[in-house]
Symmetry: D2
Subunit: 332 residues, 4 copies
């Protein structure tokens, strides 16, 4: 049984809070938010104590793990305070947007020996995981190509976009940068990126890229393509296709029901699940369970600091390539 201190009551906070409550081996002890009302709102629904003072929660011995759900630029200091307080850390991605800040965190984590998990939850999606398992089992032999579609139904609000330029790489495709490392068990050595602004002034006032395609070469020779958009009107479009010497695996999209409607104008099924919270509902619950299991077994969590760091390195290279138009080598 692990006591959790959840930091950040905003967007993704309630998802994690509900999973903590539903998990028989977890307990929600504290919700911390600089906006005390936000913290109160969460504890009102899910239990636990609310505070705006992180130190108060960290001082509680019943807290074994800190779950960080705040905006990316605030992750660093919270990670370090939690690590120094001897708590395990479950951190939303990305670790930070600044690589030197990430590395500073890494040193603190290493010094304190803190168990650290970065929440690339998609690795726990049952279909993506089944695809990975099939690759590992050798079902398609050597993986020769990976083709990933990673599209959101809409762009984030303007202030969120303004706070994280090139979010299409840092916030969205960063999941895919992690996934391609995981699926190929290999590292990319080069990336070339194309971006475009397809949305109009009203929805994308900062003219931040809302459409992107990249190609990568893996050290072992495999070729990878990822494409992304912020206006998949038909829902959250998340497909992974692995092609190899003995076949192909596709993790297909998911829909809310299996209903098929046959009419004179054709056969119609539901649009895709609308948003990542529904699309990845299972993976959020499963990553929490795996984190708890790792902490209890004193094993390192499944996705660690270096995974979070590498994904950021690739995202940075993507941004550089998108700006220059030229291929960019990805440093080790």
């Amino acid at each position: 049984m692990i006591g959790f201190c959840l930091v950040g009551g905003g967007f993704i906070g309630p998802v994690h809070a509900a999973n903590i409550v539903a998990n028989p081996r977890a307990r929600l002890r504290w919700v911390v938010d600089v906006d005390r009302a936000a913290a109160d709102k969460l504890t009102g629904k899910f239990g636990g104590r609310a505070t705006s003072d992180l130190d108060e929660a960290l001082a509680d011995d019943a807290v074994g793990a800190v779950m960080i759900c705040t905006p990316p630029r605030t992750h660093g200091p919270i990670i370090e305070r939690a690590a120094r307080a001897g708590k395990a850390v479950f951190c939303e991605k990305p670790i930070d947007l600044d690589l030197s800040r990430v590395d500073a965190c890494g040193r603190v984590l290493a010094d304190t020996g803190t168990p650290f998990y970065v929440a690339f939850n998609r690795r726990f999606d049952p279909s993506h995981r089944a695809l990975c398992d099939a690759i590992r089992a050798g079902d398609i032999g050597r993986t020769e190509m990976l083709v990933v579609s990673s599209r959101d139904p809409e762009i984030s609000p303007p202030d969120y976009v303004a706070a994280m330029p090139f979010g299409i790489f840092y916030d969205t495709m960063i999941h895919d940068f992690d996934m391609l490392r995981w699926l190929t068990a290999d590292e990319p050595v080069e990336i070339v990126a194309h971006t475009a602004c397809m949305l109009d002034e009203r929805t994308n006032p900062h003219h931040d890229p809302d459409t992107a395609m990249v190609m990568l070469r893996m050290a072992g020779g495999a070729l990878v393509h990822v494409n992304s958009s912020f206006r998949a009107v038909y829902g959250y479009d998340q497909r992974i296709e692995a092609f190899g010497e003995r076949g192909m695996l596709i993790s297909q999209n998911r829909q809310p029901t299996t209903l098929e409607r046959y009419g004179a104008d054709g056969i119609r099924r539901d649009p895709l699940l609308r948003f990542f919270i529904e699309r990845y509902a299972e993976s959020y619950a499963l990553e929490l369970d795996a984190f708890i299991a790792a902490i209890e077994a004193r094993r390192p969590p499944a996705i660690g600091f270096e995974d979070g760091r590498r994904a950021l390195v690739i995202a940075e290279a993507a941004v550089t390539s998108a700006k220059s138009g030229a291929p960019v080598a990805i440093p080790r």
Copy 2:
């Protein structure tokens, strides 16, 4: 190379004529129609000679086979004349609607030793055939249940319906009565049938059944269900499902293209192929080729007189049950 005399230039005639022309081992020699203009129209497009006099064509030694595409009630005399002229016979289903007439034909065919094929073309549909092959190969073990959907997009014109009451059994489901014998390699021993008139006065003025469900027991114990309708607005709906001790096989529907359209309101594919001529285009060509191969090899055609007779016996039992509401034993 076999010379054909095609009798009946109406509905299905042009389909067979085109296949004869396209088949490298067949030649269209004659088109016979009591309406000489109809015969002329076909020969104008596909070649061969037109006549309204069947005897003229039967006298031609270059004719090796007679293909009968006239209305069911005329089949008997034509079959007998062709048989007595020493020609092989390719006859559209049903052989006749009157069982005593069918039996009379059968005696002539036996006496003359005429190669006879009754055109249950669906046995040649690649998907249905693959299903049959899989059953024969033991893929699902013993077949325990068969569930067949056999639905037309619309009812025939009123005069056609008037000429063949209970056409839903005699004209439509008769294909399925043949298919279930073929797929199970067994005979049905009992049938119970429900019918309904769902169409309105305008499209079904004779109040002939336009909707039907039957259940049959096979001698070997398998249970069979077939359902039919004359208004599948989404196209020609033809599915066969075989359930057995080791699994299930489904021959699914066919569509004109593979296009998928993703929009905010869902994912849409084409409606089904609209009519039996498109739906079974391949099977019409394949049955002709098999008929020719059998004649050339002096083997009996794949679907013979007894097959045509049995399907009619089952259809008659279905009509009897639909009228009485009670189960009806199917005579051997």
Copy 3:
């Protein structure tokens, strides 16, 4: 917030207990089982107090509802005791196997004005419900045919089968008898049933029917077919197809992942979800939530006593028909 007393810690008990714990408006107060150890096991995992004495739990004012998960033949007395104690009742299907016993229950429920829910959970399955909503919305116009496949991956253990002969109707197809009333908003007037024993001596030593097909006529004229088997080796096969004047709706099967595996021998997807607990996981949680909402709002639960009674009446008629081979009128 409603306090629950769960009676019967066996098979389905833990499913309901977990849903009670996860539901923010429910609390698990008691688990009652004649086998005290079974009750202890459940409370050990999910909380609440264990007892083998139903009266002890019924005496607790914090208990607002009794959830009955015991074998069917024990339902009657528990329903009546709960009703007389003034508790709402959530009862697993069937209400009882004996119609006179059911009617006795009905009188007690009426006299006491007890809110009563019979757990035909499939009505809450998102895909089946979307199909029902589409029918109600008029998407296919009048429903003309209903074709239902309702197949289990395996037969129940011999002692369970021995305790409920013709369980294929009383225990399995009873769900479909309820569904067809719900989907058509109509009552069946006649049924004809075929059954078979396809399983071997070892798995079905009592030679109870393990395979069945029925056809029904609805009062409004629609035709219905249901088929069932106890050995769908490919998983829990549950499909509903509604055919109407303007189209067709199919609630298709569900699979654990969306992975597609392309190899030289074809394209392979997962088998179906294996058992009803996974297949209907969502519907169990949703029915509980709807029950709570109804109790809180003092509305009758969505599926009431008469629904439970009617399904049993149809099941009895199915058994009679299966034994005689003749169609059986279904009493109102």
Copy 4:
């Protein structure tokens, strides 16, 4: 009615010859092959006269069109001789592998006013065409991304590969270079290409690229990705995905049957159609019909000289990029 002189009896020749014979408005007059036996073989099956002397056939006034099915490097002289003889030209792709040779052809075609068709048959595939029609109809609004999978089941024989290095661009992806121009009604301005040799020494002794990914930018801003491989063991994998502001269109793969096999290990469908001759059987017949219709109506054929030239220009740029690793501007 148009008389055809087919030049080149090899690989694709018989496909075109059968379509000429089956088309009611075409007649096969001559088959020309430097290997007279190859010509004889075709005329033996499909009719017409055989010769190894192109001039003999060109001298025949009954010949209205020359269909060129010889290896790419021989196209130029044949095109020019046919043009000077006043015949319409139907030419397999690519026009030639050498751009200056192509341009020389172009001048002759212009001078002689010869109707010229380059056989990018995939534009006539019913599913690809339905996708194009939907784009043109505005179903997805502006096309923002195009993702194309274009994979062959195997590599060509070594001598074929040796004769055309970088055939993955010049011979295979050249179809897709044409398709992307057609689908977007726009021109690409830049390409970046990655290639790899994944096959072993035995199947790819010349170490010619057998795996490739490219990204292109269209003048209008759309982003395009194409990937290709020479070992799709599951069949001929040809998918086009167009993503736009109002949705997505996917032209999916095709399979020989619709059979679904449900077993304990999953649900299996057929592998894809094995080779381009089956996969594109319909498009070969349809392109011929469209060519004949254009000639008869004195309209330019649907896909003309400039289309053939542009596809080659893009293929050359792809080769340049694959060699240098850098993006390459595509000249107008």
